[in-house]
Symmetry: D3
Subunit: 281 residues, 6 copies
């Protein structure tokens, strides 16, 4: 995933949001045309993300940039991220927008990466899927960040997958098997995911033929209970654990028998710090 997921006009819009008419301080000081250089360096270990977008922002503004790494790379303390060279007013214009973007995206990627790392027990790894609950207006970058960290997206939106919430079932008056049959007929090629709130419901929908049972806010021990309860069913749905999953409990969910971990935690993870240093030639 080594390319900017934001098109040039979107990067230009992000910059214009912060700097509609140049950096007034640089202009008033009349230092704009001086040759300048800067570097981005990791101030913390991190799974870095957003480098390609930062690089392109500097380029669009007229700087020359070098970056030897890609989104998804794991950085240690003080790893170099990128260097840029250009007029002082160009570097001052782009600096903070690019820095904030990398810090924020790397926060998501590092959080996702930690959960992916933790999602194992006794040599068994399970996949981590992130929900669609991205911060409003940040979807493309948020998705890039979780994917470059080795997680996948549970789904990108409402229009392409079948995930039956209790809030959907409130409007149904029919047996679960009828519901499943109707969904198969309507969308033959899609998996049917059903979110449940109790072990009993899990069993019912397993018997009805759901492909994936999503266990909403089950503690690990109830996931284990659920796993046991369907063990002898002739159906073999995946069990997806969702709600409150983080790096520190991911292992327990795997141990309990979850097949997939579904989480929104990375999207509001704390940013990772990037140090920016300016140089004068």
């Amino acid at each position: 995933m080594p390319r900017s997921v934001l098109a040039d006009h979107e990067l230009a819009a992000l910059l214009a949001d912060d700097v509609p008419c140049g950096d007034l301080t640089t202009d008033a000081l009349r230092i704009g045309p001086q040759p300048a250089r800067l570097s981005f360096i990791a101030r913390q270990p991190m799974t870095v993300c957003g480098v390609e977008e930062a690089v392109r922002m500097f380029e669009l503004a007229g700087a020359a940039v070098k970056a030897e790494l890609a989104s998804g790379d794991v950085l240690s303390f003080q790893s170099p991220i990128l260097t840029a060279e250009g007029d002082a007013d160009v570097l001052h214009r782009v600096w903070k927008t690019a820095q904030v973007l990398v810090e924020w995206a790397s926060g998501i990627a590092s959080s996702a990466s930690a959960i992916v790392e933790a999602a194992q027990h006794d040599g068994r790894r399970v996949p981590v899927a992130c929900t669609r609950k991205t911060v409003p207006g940040t979807k493309a970058l948020s998705v890039k960040a979780v994917r470059c960290a080795g997680a996948s997206m549970h789904r990108l939106g409402l229009s392409e997958t079948l995930l039956v919430f209790p809030e959907h079932r409130l409007y149904l008056d029919e047996a679960p098997a009828v519901t499943i049959a109707r969904l198969r007929a309507a969308e033959a090629e899609k998996r049917i995911v059903v979110e449940v709130g109790s072990v009993e419901e899990a069993v019912v929908w397993t018997e009805a033929g759901a492909d994936v049972i999503q266990l909403e806010k089950f503690p690990p021990e109830r996931v284990a209970e659920c796993r046991a309860a369907i063990a002898h069913s002739r159906m073999r749905p995946l069990l997806a654990a969702a709600g409150g999953i983080k790096a520190d409990n991911a292992g327990a969910y795997v141990a309990a028998g979850a097949d997939v971990l579904v989480t929104s935690a990375p999207f509001t993870a704390a940013p990772r710090d990037v140090k920016v240093t300016f140089l004068r030639d």
Copy 2:
């Protein structure tokens, strides 16, 4: 600040990002036309934000909405936020996007509010100003959230204020007083803010005539030192403490003599939980 800061086409774009072609699950279940209702309720105490945007999203999709409160209101556990009524497919389409928006914006507002609350000592309150380091693509809502919580914006972007960073001064070869004089001539109507990294620098720029001295990552005790160091200067710049300021150290900074607290913390604060309940008529 009781209106949506996002225009209709921006709200429509947020919705389309998540639901480009309807909720497939609702459609496949054929429950779309059923009459439905839902309510948003605070699952935690919070300074709520984003209600006006959520309301308008439901309206644009075709639902009737009621909300008795406004962004900036302080909610206790289980306070009602809004109720919406409409076809099941409308409510299912808007539900999560609206919920995530309110949860995230209320996280920012609640964090800002806590810092504002903490920014006092011995009866003396100082203002809290948030930086421009908003998550990329979220500026309008982020600004609304901190403002409705009683904080202000340090600045909205680079193009309208003078904030002289060390990274600007690297390209100057002149006495501070000359710099200040040149800035006054160029931008007579603007305050001159100078960011410094040491007490010595603070004194130098105080003497040079800066209007505001921004103390970057000073612990409270060094802020106090700085306050003492300039006490007998004939200049009276404001001292703004910036970097690492949160609710739990804000009081200490006030006690140390800061005139303004500058923080980015609210922009990546944890969201506040909102409970959504669907009803069938």
Copy 3:
């Protein structure tokens, strides 16, 4: 699906594309302010689509509109579609853009509807799924049209489904079972669809464990052959027939044993005629 899938600003942009500065003829004739009425009537039988968009366009321009039907309804010759009332310049401004939209979208819907109708044999109906090959720039309306006709979307784009083309496999050097296993691990929740070009390939990928085998450009008799060839496999993939499927051969594909029909035909179907009549009050 009874709402406009285009937001107001998108409808306004469509109108502005055709009428950036008013209808010059109406203006030059000075008939703009006269009260006027018009009606849209089906000139052919059709599954109508785009009514909600047409209605909203007239409204945005300032007319009052009535429509008693919804996208997806089946109309006979001379069925009324909508009536609008307003100033002559408003009706003249919107007329053709709205008419062309309904005619074109109803062409897609009617074509999809005919294939859905034909996709049966001996009482067995199979679902019809349309590809993502929509005419550039028309995706939202095209998707609405096929869905309101009872067809589904095979997929909405590349980012949410697994469809392994021969063009992907060209870059693999591994056994099919390995490929399937890797895909399951990477995207546990998604169905795995594999496109094949021969019966032999179909058998190989069936054995490897694909969820859906997509038969690209197989005539019905080869579909039947394929059905027979996998009859005794312990795997039970769906067989999706794709390529060249239309209303006149859909039944033969069902008879041959296809489980799903995949088609792009509706997107470039001939428009259905709508008659527009103006009245003077």
Copy 4:
């Protein structure tokens, strides 16, 4: 007309519509970084169109492209169209969007070209003009396609030409000569085109001084009748035949005396097939 009529941000938007977050299949298979090549080849004879847009799409995504031809060129079966080289994930991302664009635009161009070719009789060629009835959202490319095929645009929209429909005249209570005089005064520099539904009307508006008489849905024999009816008039309007004109009746209209053929047929013409072949280096 050898340049992309869509700007980079419009091409990026078309791509993002289909591939908001990369090709999931390529990503899950981990074949993204492999070097790859592909070629587009005509599977049918065609007047090709959209090559420049396809080339630019590949370039924007990061591929190197070669195309030795231009929109408007006439291709025979198996003529090469373009070749692209780049990472497998780039080629997979752009492939279908670019292919569909060329296939669809070449369908329009080929249809227009066939009508242009047919619009002659006995050595006399007449121009072919396409209407503004383009599929909603496709105007720029549709116009390029008909123009590169040697047809012209009857008009691009409502705001720059005078075309008096019966639907305009419904709101007039005056002699045709008065109408013409008023239009001349209002828009001295524009031609006055009048659409009529009968030979009698054609004569009336010829006498009134229209510059062009547009004969709506006249069969060829009535066009000839009309030509005869105005033969002795001192006015010499152009006769434009409109409605239902295709390649197979164009010659008859020319023989009947039409000066211009006006048609919407190309905009919904069947696409021309393009074969895409991937290679592995």
Copy 5:
């Protein structure tokens, strides 16, 4: 022309350009929720324009507005234009953007109106057409302003009319009659306008068959000369005088025999003053 030519999202964008995050002064003073009223009144006589856009801006922001007039109306000193009622922060947010829009658009309309008024001699009126040289980014409103003042648009852009400049002819090596014949064949339905720089050229292109001869920067006496020079030609092209035409010389051009006056002057005319008065209820 009594409707806003800017769609809601365009008006919202204009407002956001000036007021991205509310009126800071109103917010800091905490007067936002107070009920307020304001009125716009003409401070000079004017042909008013932009009223519909101003009204809609106030409405979008949440105010109730009344306006008894329409763009194109002639106002005397102190004529009322509109009144708005709403919260103080709404009125303060919209005030200047709406005022500047009306002042600027009325400047264009008033200038165009004065030229239209002056374009007569001895009872003979000739039409005034404005060029496409609108200030970058202002086309829709500029066109509305000249049209509502009774002028027309010479052309809206390059893509729909034939205007042969000397800069086109530089690339031709053929007789004028050949050029005209080729243009007639290519674009049978368009008028052919030819811009010339001397009386000799005017005669040449008249003989060649141009429909309109555009006299670029001819003083009135040379227009008269030109009129005389072609008086006995069997061709009857319109003579359009262009370049430097204003209200004070328009009459002379009419007297000299121009059939159309072409001008860019209104687009940069001085704004007309509008007085805004706030009231407190």
Copy 6:
């Protein structure tokens, strides 16, 4: 300020506004592919602006451009501005849009420059600040033009500065000192600017502690009176003269004691003429 303030997609939109589908005249004449050159030359002395935008427009369309100067440079009669080389259809497409942009922006810059030049008396220079009353839709370029001429922006919009109008005070019932104190508390880092309509008000707000007193439509002699009236105050606000300030009275305002001149005059200044010459190779 030597870069385009409009991003590529904004420049592309400006071009598309004028030339949605190519220059019809060039196309109909079939001169498009001929090699061509053109030059822009100052037809009047001017402070030039918009060169970078013009250059980029030509580049985006496919031409090679050279410009040896930058926005803000002072040109004499016949100074070269830029030269471009490319296909005739490229140069014809961009020509007028680029020319009008440079002419209009240079009009603003030249007007601002003249006021800056005049804003002195007896060796004392005062800064010139332009208001936010830019022509709707032209903000970015207008700001660039005044800044490159040596003027500054009074403010960019409503959201970042405190400027207390009488229209704000209408909703206050408190002593001026209270107002100032409340504003200081709310926005500690901002200057407080107060607009007044009389010398008495100026004195009141000076005493209350405003940082800047803006004198709205004071003739120079009343500015002098005001200067005298506050001479003995212990407060030292800046006096900003606003309203009706132009190059011919700027000196008088300086002489009268204004510290800053605030003006909107440049935004509607007359364009400066640029001569465009085409060459054939």
